[in-house]
């Protein structure tokens, strides 16, 4: 049930829209970068675990 915002509807809805959009973008960027770095780290750690150590060469 949408409240009657009267003549200030644009100001109120724009405020909520802009806030939710900015917070959603920040959260999405945080999650995306977090997953990317975690994956890259796992790849490098796995690669280095497979690589021969100094003594094995």
């Amino acid at each position: 049930m949408m409240p009657d915002l009267g003549r200030y509807a644009v100001a109120v809805l724009s405020s909520y829209g802009a806030t939710l959009a900015l917070l959603a973008a920040l959260l999405a960027l945080t999650v995306w970068r977090g997953r990317r770095v975690k994956r890259q780290l796992a790849e490098v750690e796995a690669r280095q675990a497979r690589a021969p150590t100094e003594g094995e060469r």
Partner: protein
């Protein structure tokens, strides 16, 4: 057990992994309850009409914009004094979150100001101090990106953070210091005094503030974990290049 043990990246990763789901859940509950309550279930103000609903976004974001800088200042001081890398990375992680809250406060303030004051913007002490705080956030983030050596970047940004703290304080107390301009002084701290906020607005506002605080904690924890991993990744890649 000392608090400083959590400055160890491994301990921090363990602790934050356990805490994150709880913080995430509480954040969602507080934000959904607070914003739905504020938007759908509060009455119009007798003077401001429905624009009063902007309070549930503007006040919590403005509070957190300043508090994020204070958190960055504390973390920067810990870095400068005790050289704990996690604290420097936590300060770095908090900056984009603080900048986003500052942007929300400025945008919602302009959208609220236009119908109430008749203008989107005025060079009022509080508004101007807030704009300068936003510029400090941008400068802080840019400085982290510009300096290649992470310890040097942490040193320089810590100093910048201390300088910017002047504007974080000013943006909070500008109305008291200059006693002029369009922006009013804080009202929520005056509850119980002569000009309080009615409980119909105050209670959902407190829930929204709790939601924004928890959202800040959640995002900083997530981003600090990423920064710790990114630091380890660059160290491993550097070792690979040397081998």
């Amino acid at each position: 057990m000392s608090l400083w043990e959590y400055a160890n990246p491994k301990k921090f990763m363990q602790l934050s992994a356990g805490v994150l789901p709880w913080v995430g859940g509480l954040t969602a509950v507080c934000l959904i309850v607070g914003l739905v309550w504020g938007f759908f279930l509060t009455p119009d103000d007798f003077r401001q009409g429905s624009t009063v609903k902007i309070i549930f976004l503007h006040v919590p974001s403005a509070m957190m914009a300043i508090n994020a800088w204070v958190m960055m200042l504390v973390a920067s001081l810990i870095w400068l004094i005790r050289r704990h890398h996690v604290s420097a990375l936590a300060a770095k992680a908090a900056a984009p979150v603080g900048l986003t809250f500052t942007a929300i406060a400025l945008v919602t303030g302009a959208l609220w100001g236009q119908p109430m004051w008749g203008t989107w913007w005025a060079w009022d002490p509080r508004l101007t101090a807030f704009l300068i705080l936003a510029l400090f956030y941008l400068g802080y983030i840019a400085l982290w990106q510009a300096v290649e050596d992470p310890d040097t970047a942490a040193d320089l940004t810590a100093v910048l953070c201390m300088v910017g703290s002047v504007f974080a304080v000013l943006s909070r107390y500008a109305v008291k210091f200059w006693n002029q301009g369009l922006h009013q002084d804080s009202t929520i701290l005056k509850v119980g005094e002569k000009d309080p906020i009615a409980p119909a607005f105050y209670v959902p506002l407190v829930v929204c503030i709790a939601g924004f605080v928890l959202l800040f904690v959640l995002l900083v924890l997530m981003r600090t974990r990423t920064e710790i991993r990114a630091r380890r990744l660059s160290a491993l890649l550097a070792r690979e290049r040397l081998a």
